[in-house]
Amino acid sequence: MKGLEELKKEIEQIVSKITISEIEQRIKEDELVEENIEIISNDDLKYECIKQSLIDLEEEVKVWKNEILELAA
């Protein structure tokens, strides 16, 4: 697997080959594209999963608390 530095060099080579008119043409084509996508990083996903688990756990605790209070009454 190539490292990031090697990949960056490869990208630099690609960009050096692209002409401004090609960029303009690609922009023109891209303007017809309807995209609503937002990439979620793996770290954000982990954070959201943990957050969701805590919310679920909190709900469960509420239920247990009510059950205990009912039993105690």
Partner: protein, 202 residues
Amino acid sequence: MNIERSETGYHATSVENAKSILTSNFEKSISTINKKHWLGNGVYFFTDIAWAVQWNINALKKKENKDKSKEDFTILESKINIDSDFLLDLSSVMGKAILDFLKESLIKKLITEGRDDLIETINNRSLKFFMNLLDEYGFLNKYYIVTATYIDKKEAKKVHHKDDFILRIQSQVCVRNIECIGETKECEDTANIKSIYSLLES
């Protein structure tokens, strides 16, 4: 290829296409000027069956499918073999760094060429713009699989629990090297598919 792990992928398609895939294997979807594929050329899978069902629901709404019904669409289930040396995950730190560097390099070029007027336009380009550029210049050829976890804001509106971030997240896998696709069969969990259909259509 050194298979490190396997994942199940769900490919939504017409029954007709499914039959052809099951007899003669998948064919890569190739981008054209009118139809660009957002993760580049390859075979696309969802990692969650619910989004594959949603894909079929959307397909049914298209003009060309106006005479078709739910029964004309199906979901194939494939085993996807992954070797991390040939995987590009756009949600990983590396994936983000690649896309950010491409954008930065294009902006640098615009500045050097005195075309600062295009900088904002480049900043607002779709992911497809950058991915297709990388694909057409051969950068993606070294990867067998390209994947991304994302939110499709348009699709997210259809999810009932709007506050539930997790439910709105999708993950897609684009298999560029068909040899990574292991056993493929028609998804047999029809009861689950039916319940997802009714949930998404209600």
